[in-house]
């Protein structure tokens, strides 16, 4: 937020100097920015107040839990659930969306707590992941009906938790994960809530990566890498065919890069490849990270840029760890690494130079 404000301030001064924006216009823009900031503070404070109130009520119930009859306990649980959801409605009705989302989220959290407390009260000791799935379903329904992105995010986290638990109980890929994943993701898309879509991307990437480790006893990282490459191709082609969704394609590209990279890393370090294959994979990985950096710089995709840099460093370190004293001499390794980094620096330098030329021309 701060960086955004200072950037706008810088731009405004520049635009005003250039005569594109009048002094009144600049003043109006500043006033508008200032007012939205004030509203944000109010939103954050009301969210905190709602969360604190929720905790106060819950700890009151918890403190008196032992002395309550079963019926009174159930009544308290339902009152908490109704209270939080009605509060969400009241805040939304007054346009205090931040507090509304906080209460909606709290309501779904209470729903989960109620599931656990009821199963404890009635000694329900069945398949525990079923309870998590029920909780996720409750959060999904609430998130969709109240149009609350944060509540849908809770649903997605719970879906992942459910799938992870089920997977840990059966040693095989848990395909049913994809159904609630798709439902919650559709919800995020419907709400046009970007953080949620990132959560979906992260969850699906995790699923694909785990697939390589679990499917038929594991070591299917080649399939993961292929999947990542296919997604890379889709994102690049998608950007050409439907440029209107460029933000989506940029995000898909980042996740595809991460999947491909992890697939390649697993091929090198989870499997035990021969030296030739290992060297080929290491070179492919470094090539991928360099390509990511290039892509990030050229198309202004900071996600790809960061992934490229971090991936490059991790791969270099990993190669160093694996080869030191065995495959090649340490000094030779450093020579190769330094040449690669120098190539990268040269590329970055040239790109920057070209950009400056373009800016100077325009």
């Amino acid at each position: 937020m701060w960086s955004h404000k200072s950037r706008v301030e810088r731009d405004l001064t520049r635009w005003q100097d250039a005569g594109w924006v009048t002094a009144e216009g600049a003043g109006a823009i500043r006033a508008e920015l200032e007012s939205t900031r004030g509203a944000k503070v109010a939103t954050v404070l009301s969210m905190l107040a709602a969360v604190l109130l929720g905790f106060a009520v819950m700890s009151f119930v918890a403190a008196n839990w032992q002395d309550m009859s079963k019926l009174l306990r159930l009544a308290s649980l339902f009152t908490l659930l109704v209270g939080a959801t009605v509060a969400a409605g009241a805040f939304f009705a007054r346009g205090m969306d931040g507090a509304g989302h906080a209460c909606a989220l709290l309501g779904s959290a209470i729903f989960g707590a109620n599931i656990m407390l009821i199963s404890q009260m009635y000694n329900m000791d069945g398949n525990a992941p079923d309870a998590v799935l029920l909780w996720a379903a409750g959060a999904l329904v609430s998130g969709l009906l109240l149009r609350s992105g944060p509540t849908l995010a809770l649903a997605m986290v719970l879906v992942c938790f459910w799938a992870g638990w089920e997977t840990s109980q059966r040693d095989e890929v848990f395909w049913p994960f994809l159904i609630p994943w798709a439902l919650v993701s559709a919800g995020f898309y419907w709400l046009k809530w970007r953080p949620g879509l990132h959560l979906s991307g992260l969850a699906l990437s995790g699923f694909i990566v785990f697939f390589g480790f679990i499917w038929h006893g594991g070591h299917h990282h080649a399939a993961v890498t292929a999947c990542g490459l296919a997604l890379l191709a889709i994102s690049v082609l998608g950007d050409r065919i439907i440029p209107a969704l460029s933000d989506l394609w940029a995000a898909v590209l980042s996740y595809a890069l991460a999947i491909t990279y992890i697939g390649l890393m697993a091929l090198q370090y989870d499997d035990n490849p021969t030296v030739t294959v290992y060297v080929a994979l290491a070179l492919a990985t470094l090539g991928l990270t360099l390509a990511a950096v290039w892509w990030g710089l050229t198309f202004n995709n900071s996600g790809a840029l960061w992934l490229g840099h971090i991936g490059f460093s991790i791969e270099i370190l990993s190669v160093y760890q694996k080869t030191v004293g065995s495959l090649i001499d340490t000094s030779l390794f450093f020579l190769v690494a330094s040449l690669l980094v120098a190539a990268l620096a040269f590329m970055a330098y040239r790109l920057n130079e070209r950009r400056q030329t373009v800016e100077a021309l325009s």
Partner: protein, 220 residues
Amino acid sequence: MSYNPTANVGISRRNLWIAVGLVIALQSAALIWMIVDRVMLLRSGKEVTVEVVPVDPRDIFRGEYVVLGYSFTGTGDTVMPAGTKRGDRVYSVLRRSRDEPKADGAPNVDAPSPNGGQTQGSKWVLVSVARSYPDKIEPGETVLSGIASDIWRNAEKAIDYGRIRYGIETYFVPEGKGRALEEMVRDKKIEAVLAVGATGQAAIKALMIDGKRVHEEPLF
């Protein structure tokens, strides 16, 4: 797609309150269904008394409870139907142990007698495990449904062994009483009264110590 930090746009006030009502109704319905399902089982399920054997307690995020083991749970050496995978639902046929002289097989009579003593033996043995609910059950036999866990295969004999969880392995107790109960489980003095439903699902109805019912939870 534009960044939309709050996402709650374009919902009219009337629809908002309908949505609030629906959320409350649906979430409450799920919770009520949980309770009703369990209360029905506890009320109408066939009552079976089973002997409890000691096990070590461990659980992660729940309150005070005791861990209960049963003579028919086995130690991971239960022969499973061929092809059973971890997480599959299985049905166990139980029969009263033969070394209990009074086990004549009359169903639904194993409640304690008025003087508090046991009229029937409470030691049950596992007869067989099937992937579906058995078509025919002998008198005096009880079917419990459970979930297969820890499957391992003896390649030489081509037999799958495993352990079964019936969902009756933990029991929550009032604060401070857990330790005492656990000691008793260790001294083999405890029996559990189960309610067994038509499809084999089981719930702990009460615990019995020396033939007397303790910790019978009220339904509401």
